[in-house]
């Protein structure tokens, strides 16, 4: 590529290329007239029109004209920069003009397509737009793009399923990973659970292979009973200090960071009689009792869904609780692993463990679930009886969130096992009371439209997952945002689910919102993929269009540091603001906020924008 000619100090010589886009522009705008007009504008050395500026001959025309007319600035007036700016910029560079000496004027989407019925006005508007583009082009300056080196090491915060998965994926890609876990063992929330959805294996059995792999991986350095003490730097170049319990802080250099700190269940203080009776427990406590084999004798159990969620203590739905309740209900109904602790004499031990089910039973099971709505095959035994474990199970719910394939099939399976699902509405919450030491659930039956009372042995409250208590601290440390509910806020709810707006930091698992294990796992792998990009490249391309601080004007008030959504500004040792080019996105928030006018945006200087604005208001 020829070296870019130094156009900075030369007098502007602007070339204007106006595109017909077949008939897309030419059909509605008098392109010849616009071209003629463009040639009369100040500093325009050459103006022409092309049938298709983006076609081979159009591009050659730009290149040849740059040489022939000694152009140092190019204005293309055609379609959208989104699809075509890189093409024209490459063309300029090929002819020796810095790509930032190019201005795009959109006279298709912004003009011909919206004014198809007003050809004269469309032509006038196209002239206005071209005049504005030329006015701006006169003040353009060449820019250089810089590269910033990246330390090819990752940091994962949180040693639960998400964190371990992310760390393992990065390690498998060949990157050294520091895995920081605040507890003394890996496994996170899941290690305290008894059973999981979609498997008959215990929670610990299920995640053991994952822990083993993490333990064995040479690329992973575990920091247990540890936390982040401080984080300095920006994408590619973070200096992280990892503090341990009483141990000396360890300093590591990393290029990217994944946040996978998980969530905790809400403690339903003051809801549904929680703590008023030992058998009113949360679903997490139920898991713990199962783990310890300490379930009391049960004949009837009520689950109350959304205990604290969907407008009670928190506004959101916690996504996983319905499916957890369904899983637990099925386990109870099947008395899985004799969780109910019944003896032969009590006549309780019952169905064969599901894990050992024969294939044909599994098939029958599937077919039955496919039929849905608790329907049974004719002649099938035990049609009207309670679950074979003999426990009456009721799930009080608002909507059963059995989304997707497996959850819905499990939901059907629970109904087949005679688990009752009773809907309630938020205006009429079920009430749990203790009468003579016995538990009772009073509820309003929505279909029968009547008050009912159900005596039960145990009430299990499905409480939502809430953010970790220290999420806010971590958020400040990493300069990444939390959403309204205290979960980490991703960069874009649709298209950047595991990125933060700040480059170099990524998020996965329940710290970004409730998710089941499978979801947390693919989010973790996704975060690993995203975090691996800068590591794999070994550098990041810094935006050429960043803000610049005029050191002589900056008073060090720090406003810009606060408003920057990307953590791209910091105070220098001298106490004035400095821009971290690698982190800056050129959004302009700082420039707009600076009370001293000390910050300018490259390529969008006041001079350039005002020239454009003035041109817009000019009388022709």
């Amino acid at each position: 590529m020829p070296e870019n000619t130094n156009t900075e100090k030369e007098k502007p010589r602007i070339g204007v290329f106006i595109c017909h886009c077949g008939s897309n522009i030419g059909g509605f705008v008098d392109v010849k007239a616009v071209t003629e007009y463009a040639s009369t504008l100040p500093d325009v050395a050459y103006a022409t029109d092309n049938l298709y500026t983006c076609a081979e001959d159009g591009l050659n025309n730009i290149k040849e004209s740059i040489k022939e007319h000694n152009l140092n600035r190019v204005v293309v007036s055609s379609c959208t920069p989104r699809t075509h700016a890189p093409l024209f910029q490459r063309t300029c560079e090929a002819a020796g003009v810095n790509k930032y000496m190019f201005t795009f004027v959109n006279i298709r989407e912004h003009c011909s397509w919206v004014h198809m019925k007003q050809k004269e006005k469309a032509t006038q508007k196209a002239k206005d737009l071209v005049r504005m583009g030329v006015a701006r082009a006169r003040f353009l300056e060449p820019q250089e793009e810089t590269k910033v080196d990246v330390t090819p090491v990752a940091l994962v915060v949180g040693g639960g399923v998400s964190g371990m998965t992310a760390a393992l994926s990065l390690a498998n890609m060949g990157f050294p990973v520091h895995l920081v876990e605040k507890e003394k063992a890996l496994g996170g929330f899941v290690k305290n659970l008894h059973g999981l959805m979609m498997t008959t294996k215990s929670a610990n059995e299920t995640i053991k292979p994952l822990i083993d792999k993490v333990d064995a991986h040479k690329n992973i350095t575990q920091h247990l009973s540890s936390h982040l003490a401080s984080v300095e730097g920006f994408i590619g170049n973070y200096d992280v200090s990892i503090g341990g319990d009483g141990a000396e802080a360890k300093d590591v250099k990393v290029g990217t960071i994944i946040v996978a700190t998980g969530a905790v269940p809400l403690v339903p203080e003051g809801l549904f009689g929680y703590k008023e009776h030992p058998n009113i427990i949360t679903s997490t406590e139920f898991e713990e009792l199962c783990n310890k084999k300490e379930l009391p004798k049960l004949k009837s159990v009520a689950f109350i869904q959304c205990a604290g969620a969907r407008g009670q203590k928190v506004s959101y739905c916690s996504r996983i609780c319905c499916n957890v309740a369904i899983k637990s209900a099925i386990s109870i109904a099947e008395n899985r692993d004799n969780m109910l602790g019944v003896t032969e004499e009590e006549g309780g031990v019952v169905e064969e463990p599901v894990a050992e089910k024969k294939a044909e039973d599994e098939g029958l099971d599937r077919r039955r679930r496919r039929r849905g709505r608790g329907r049974r095959e004719e002649g099938e035994a035990g049609e009207e009886s309670a679950p074979s474990s003999g426990v009456d199970i009721t799930v009080f719910n608002r909507d059963v969130m059995a989304y997707g394939v497996e959850n819905e099939l499990e939901f059907n399976k629970a109904r087949e096992k005679r688990v009752k699902f009773i809907r309630y509405v938020p205006d009429n919450l079920p009430k749990v009371s203790v009468k003579d030491g016995k538990l009772e659930v009073e509820y309003f039956h929505e279909t029968l439209k009547m008050e009912r009372t159900m005596p039960v042995d145990m009430v299990i409250l499905s409480t939502p997952l809430v953010a970790q208590p220290d999420a806010a601290t971590l958020s400040q440390l990493l300069k990444v945002p939390l959403g309204q509910e205290g979960f980490f806020q991703e960069a874009h709810v649709k298209l950047r689910p595991v990125d933060f707006a700040t480059d170099g930091v990524y998020v996965c698992g329940t710290c970004r919102g409730p998710a089941d294990i499978a979801e947390a796992v693919y989010q973790a792998a996704a975060a690993a993929s995203r975090a691996a990009i800068p590591l794999a490249n070994g550098f990041v391309q810094a935006e050429a269009l960043t803000s610049r601080v005029d050191e002589t004007k900056c008073t060090g008030c720090g406003t810009c540091v606060e408003v920057c959504p990307y953590g791209a500004l910091r105070k220098s040792e001298e106490g004035i603001s400095e821009v971290i080019a690698a982190a800056c996105k050129g959004c302009g928030c700082c420039g707009a906020t600076c009370p001293e006018g000390a910050i300018t945006m490259t390529h969008y200087t006041d001079l350039q924008l005002l020239a454009e604005a003035k041109a817009a208001l000019e009388e022709v």
Partner: protein, 901 residues
């Protein structure tokens, strides 16, 4: 070590996977079946829970993906075959010809405007039409057109001259009459003539034949030729470049005229030397006026001659001048002298008075000469010449019997001719062959025939007639017109040097029609023996092509004649149209009254009126679906269109594969309780989505199909086809609750007076911000939610759908203005086939199965192949994006661990 990954499916999940890999420096081949990447997300108007414009956030990603130096986007491509294993797969990808150069096309759309074909626009859920050359949607990436050409229509394929029949039918349908004539003339120089007299094998091929009757293709050709001429629009094409080379064409029949016209268009100086006094050859002399009025022929020949062709009548080569003379004066010679010699019957008595040979008879009749024929005429033969002779004799007042040795089914004459003859009163004696002509005083008295029976098929494929011994019988006649066959009169050429076949036809190289004498070419009946006009046109065209090459100094080596394009079958058409083809009656051409037919030479079949022609052309089912009318190439500024583009098989060598093929929308027609397609104002959610999109078929307006009004009361019914074991989808499709909520909100945003009600089983608003979104729909957008199953009936008078539901154990019903069905989402139709190729397992509902759905979602059972997005089970957009990245991570791990660097 191969540093590349193949991603199958260019929806949001595949795009994300591709970008994640590409940004790590890994080469990616992204294979997408459709002409654009973007997938289903591109069809959505807004996305929940932020109501961001879907295409606005997607289009930049599509552009990034397409322009990424590490991503090779292969659209309009399919995986054909795969072998190898993780780290070293070999994948054959079929890159289908789009007939448009992706690099050259600027997406301007000028070609769309000239395309005569209208097809349902799949992207808009068939709610509006698109041309056969198209981009699926405004923001398509690549923004390059594609010609929707699945093959060649059988009509076009059957034409001996290779005329694109579907092309001109399509142009006629689009009322582009002049363009239709121009297209016809590229192959058939005499549209009006050919439309009248052609034996139209095109119609035999027509896929409509199996549904009802073929499209009247020939009739349309006659119409359009006449119409354009009558409108005065038939102006000669200006010759661009004059050439000094001279070509002599001997014979002004169809072959000679075709060659002369082609060569004249190329600028050569062409002279036709015609032995008779009129142009047209057999068209003039062999075809009676009631089939082809002479003024039509004259007008069309005059049009051709107006291209600077010189013609000299009454000069016979071999008599008035020699072939040698021509060789000296001209740079090339084309011999198209036809086959005008009647073959004899070869039975005793053929020299008796009263025997008039068919061709002579017709010739003399055409010359308005009084031909003395008797009262009782026997015509021998079953071809068109026989029919023409019979019908002409009938019009001269004779009683006519046709004697033919096979049955009616084997007659080579075209159906309309046989039918015409029958209708006019010609009698037939089938399975009879003359053995002797009886006479008295030198005049015929009777013809003695023998009965035949049908034996084994002969070379022509027809059963060979075998005489039945002792079955002789006689028919009393006074005139016999033998019309069994004709041969060229080669003696007339007077050349000893020309090579001749044993059938007394001119011998040529069939590849280029050159004779043994350099510079002399021959074609038409003189080479083939008596054949059809359209075959003669084909020969003329071919001769012209090689004569031009010769005069350009190029090799005249015959080019390989490729005709390997897939011929579209009725099944292909049905598959494209997703169902049966509606029957529609063929428009019949008007006939002149019967009594007139027996007495006058007035044209029997009237040419279609414009209205009739448009009606008939509309019956065409657009087999191609591209009609190959060739209208788009001239309209393309950057010359991006290439009709000769071929499918290509590209072999890729990826180390890993990501499968992200997405979903289809289930068609609820079969679930009759919802009344979809039965009641006009019942829509699927995807239809609604397109309708509410500003770039959609209604420009963003919600309208009722029944009356175009915008509905005020809108119902949404959830779980249509999902959570429904009866239709095989017991699962929940995981996105429709939020989808419906969004659609109800958008309805209110578009029209303040719309009130929406959502009928649901469980409102599964269970991800980040979703519950809040539903609460907002209730409080800020007035959306009502009713927890009930629902079915649909209709108020037949107003076409208002009535939703029947159940609350508190009581059945209720409520009338709405329109209903939107949240139909379930199912794996893509071709998932099973792809799974087979890739060796992947499917779940019982047809989604790709992860080997470990808890701790390793997206890892398929085959090492090196990973899954992402809806094809691996229900997922919304952010989940599909995360899964795309997740699959990319797994692929990157494989690359790292295979020792690659």
């Amino acid at each position: 070590m191969k540093r590349s990954v193949m991603v199958i499916g260019g929806g949001i999940s595949g795009i994300q996977a591709a970008l994640d890999l590409a940004e790590k420096g890994i080469k990616v081949d992204l294979v997408e079946k459709l002409p654009s990447i973007g997938g289903r997300m591109a069809q959505l108007d807004k996305t929940f829970p932020t109501n961001d414009c879907s295409i606005c956030i997607l289009a930049p990603k599509m552009a990034d993906c397409y322009s990424h130096p590490n991503v090779n986007v292969m659209t309009y491509s399919e995986v054909k075959d795969i072998s190898g294993k993780a780290g070293d797969f070999k994948v054959d990808v079929l890159k289908k010809a789009r007939f448009v150069d992706e690099e050259k096309c600027t997406g301007c759309g000028d070609c769309f405007k000239v395309c005569p074909v209208s097809l349902p626009n799949e992207f808009d859920m068939d709610m509006r039409e698109r041309p056969a050359i198209y981009v699926p949607f405004l923001q398509s990436v690549p923004r390059a057109a594609t010609i929707d050409r699945a093959g060649v229509a059988p009509c076009s394929n059957k034409c001996p001259a290779g005329l694109s029949a579907q092309g001109y039918v399509a142009l006629i349908r689009a009322e582009k009459f002049k363009e239709a004539v121009n297209l016809i003339r590229k192959t058939v120089p005499l549209p009006s003539v050919c439309g009248r007299i052609c034996h139209h094998p095109c119609e035999e091929g027509c896929n409509r034949t199996e549904v009802d009757d073929p499209v009247a293709i020939a009739g349309l050709k006659a119409f359009v030729g006449d119409y354009v001429r009558q409108q005065g629009e038939d102006v000669p094409t200006p010759i661009e470049e004059e050439r000094k080379e001279k070509v002599a064409v001997v014979g002004a029949g169809p072959a000679g005229l075709a060659a002369a016209y082609r060569l004249a268009l190329k600028g050569f100086k062409v002279k036709i030397i015609e032995a008779t006094s009129k142009p047209g050859g057999m068209l003039w002399w062999g075809i009676p006026d009631y089939r082809l009025p002479k003024d039509v022929l004259t007008a069309e020949v005059d049009y051709l001659l107006a291209h600077g062709i010189d013609i000299e009548y009454g000069k016979t080569v071999g008599k008035d001048l020699t072939l040698e003379d021509l060789k000296k004066e001209y740079d090339a010679v084309f011999l198209a002298i036809g086959a005008h010699e009647s073959l004899k019957l070869g039975v005793p008595g053929e020299d008796l008075e009263g025997v008039v040979h068919g061709v002579d008879f017709l010739h003399r009749a055409a010359d308005k000469e009084t031909v003395a024929i008797g009262k009782k005429v026997a015509v021998i033969g079953g071809g068109n010449a026989a029919m023409d002779a019979a019908r002409t004799a009938l019009r001269m007042g004779s009683d006519v019997t046709v004697i033919y040795r096979r049955t009616k089914d084997e007659m080579p004459a075209i159906g309309a001719e046989i039918k015409g003859a029958e209708e006019e009163g010609v009698k037939f004696e089938f399975l009879a062959s003359p053995v002797k002509i009886q006479g008295k005083d030198g005049k015929i008295t009777a013809i003695e025939c023998i009965r035949m029976k049908l034996g084994e098929p002969d070379q022509s494929g027809r059963p060979r007639p075998v005489p039945v011994e002792g079955s002789e019988f006689t028919v009393d006649v006074d005139t016999i017109i033998p019309a069994v066959s004709q041969a060229p009169n080669l003696d007339a050429l007077g050349s000893k040097d020309l090579a001749v076949t044993k059938w007394k036809t001119l011998e040529v190289n069939p590849g280029n029609l050159s004779t043994n004498i350099p510079g002399v070419f021959a074609g038409g009946d003189a080479v083939s023996g008596p054949a059809s006009a359209v075959e003669a046109f084909a020969a003329g065209n071919k001769a012209a092509r090689y004569i031009e090459k010769l005069l350009n100094g190029e090799s005249i080596e015959p080019e390989p004649e490729e005709k390997d394009e897939h011929v579209i079958t009725l099944d292909d058409v049905k598959a494209r149209m997703e169902g049966e083809i509606t029957k529609s009656e063929r428009v019949l051409r008007q006939h002149i009254p019967d009594d007139k037919r027996r007495t006058s030479f007035e044209e029997v079949e009237k040419v279609f009126t414009k209205e009739e022609a448009l009606k008939e052309a509309a019956r065409c089912v657009s087999c191609g679906p591209c009609s190959q009318c060739e209208a788009c190439a001239p309209a393309c500024g950057p010359n991006a269109i290439d009709y000769n583009m071929k499918d290509q098989v590209v072999t890729l060598n990826p180390a890993a594969i990501v499968v992200a093929t997405g979903f289809d929308v289930w068609d609820p027609t079969s679930a009759s309780e919802y009344g979809y397609k039965k009641y006009p104002n019942v829509y699927t959610a995807m239809e609604y989505e397109r309708m509410i999109n500003a770039a959609g078929p209604t420009g963003g307006h919600i309208v009722r199909r029944s009356d175009g009004e915008h509905p005020k009361k809108l119902a949404f019914i959830q779980c249509v086809g999902s959570r429904n074991p009866q239709v095989g989808h017991p699962y929940c499709c995981a996105v429709c609750c939020m989808h419906a909520t969004k659609e109800a909100m958008l309805a209110r945003e578009h029209y303040e007076d719309i009130n929406s009600t959502i009928f649901y089983k469980d409102m599964r608003a269970c991800a980040k911000g979703f519950n809040e979104y539903v609460e907002r729909a209730k409080s800020d957008y007035g959306v009502s939610y009713i927890n009930s199953d629902a079915t649909v009936q209709e108020n037949a008078e107003t076409h208002n759908p009535i939703v029947v539901f159940d609350v508190g154990g009581k059945q209720q019903s409520k009338e709405f203005d329109a209903v939107v069905l949240a139909t379930t989402l199912v794996p893509r139709k071709d998932t099973v086939e792809l799974a087979k190729k890739l060796g992947l397992k499917l779940t019982e509902f047809g989604f790709f199965e992860s080997s470990d759905s808890i701790l390793d979602f997206g890892r398929s059972g085959v090492p090196g192949i990973y899954l992402a997005g809806y094809c691996a089970g229900p997922a919304d957009i952010p989940e599909s994006v995360a899964q795309g990245s997740s699959a990319a991570a797994k692929a990157a791990e494989i690359l790292a661990n295979s020792g690659g660097g």
